[in-house]
Amino acid sequence: MQPSSRPLKERKMQGFIVQRERGYHALRLRIPMGHLEATHMPIIQSVAERYGRGVVHLTTRAGMAIPWIRLEQAEAAKAELNAAGIVLAGCGPRMRSVHTCKGDVCPYSVVNTYELGMTLDGRYFSADDPEIFPHKLKMGVAGCANACSKPQFNDIGLMGLARPGLDADGCISCGLCYEVCRDAGSVDSLSTAWTMPQGWERKKDGLLPIYDEDKCIFCGDCIRVCPTDAIPTEEVGLAMFIGGKFGRRPLLGFRVANFLTQDEALSIIDYTGRWWKESGQRGERLGITMLRVGLARFKTEVLTGASYQHKLTNFEEQPLGGCDGTHWTGAHAGGGF
């Protein structure tokens, strides 16, 4: 069947994105996590030159689209891409390609974002039922608290966390942990998680640094900088954001939990999907459903696993999930929705 005879919605689901110019479509390529096989590049070039106008658009979620494909040639272009192992990525009311940072190679990352992304992709994007979620849903993963891939602006966001310890015998009181603590020197310089005790005069005098977990963003900078490796990684886990989106009325995802295991995070996504299918209204993004139904109810109905109860935040007690952008709560950005 020629794409022109299909309804627009179906074409979007297939990865043919209509252009402003009548008769032209862009082919959206599926490139999970933005990992493009270099061997695919010549084929993409060839299709763009022969079917399109020799340009490729890089999308905001690290994907690719080949514009200027004539509708009647779209199936032929798609067939050539498919033959080379490149598939199109659907648009419309379904899950989009997983977006991650380069956390499989980045020195700051504390989790392998590519492997985690592949797990999410296999479980939710490539699952037999493409409409596993009732509406558009985006998942994003960041390898560390730097949050380069903006997991908070995804309906489901995961972010790697590292909890530092302290080996008192190995510490030489140099103060580098305090100096590099991410918030040191920022406007709110009181918020460093590491401080040096009174009497410390930037000398190696045997005084141990003091760690305040409540002020920690778990970025791991202190772990990496410690010259004697006296700050070990005590625990690695995932922060989870639910309900984020950008668009006309942006929302930061509600930071529902910290230091989840991967299995706990996947279980929460499963429950969230089921809940959203039952509770969501047509065309409603996840965060809006959560706000309409109520964050407290979402928490009681979805976040029910016994293993992670102590890891949950009090996001539901903050007005709109917390407007101050602090790291323990989700935050609401922008007025109304």
Binding site: P107, I172, G175, D221, V225
Partner: protein
């Protein structure tokens, strides 16, 4: 740390931005024999966050850390 450690090479990285500072330190370390010591002056902020981490990642040993005025640190890096 014993105070008598003497550096074999001194490298002032004041005002040198990442990643050039580590590149320069790395080149200096390449010239050294194993066990010899490079002394570097690093600005607080990004350089202090990155250079010690890179040195550790490449297997070198940071054997001393000293403040240098209010805005800098002096590191002794033993080549490995």
């Amino acid at each position: 740390m014993p105070d008598e450690i003497k550096a074999d090479v001194y490298l002032d990285l004041s005002g040198v931005v990442c990643p050039l500072n580590w590149t320069m330190a790395k080149l200096a370390l390449e010239e050294l024999e194993e066990g010899q010591v490079l002394e570097v002056i690093l600005d607080k902020g990004e350089p202090l966050r990155n250079v010690p981490r890179s040195a550790k990642n490449e297997g070198h040993k940071i054997i001393d850390v000293e403040p240098e005025g209010e805005e800098q640190y002096r590191l002794l890096i033993e080549k490995h």
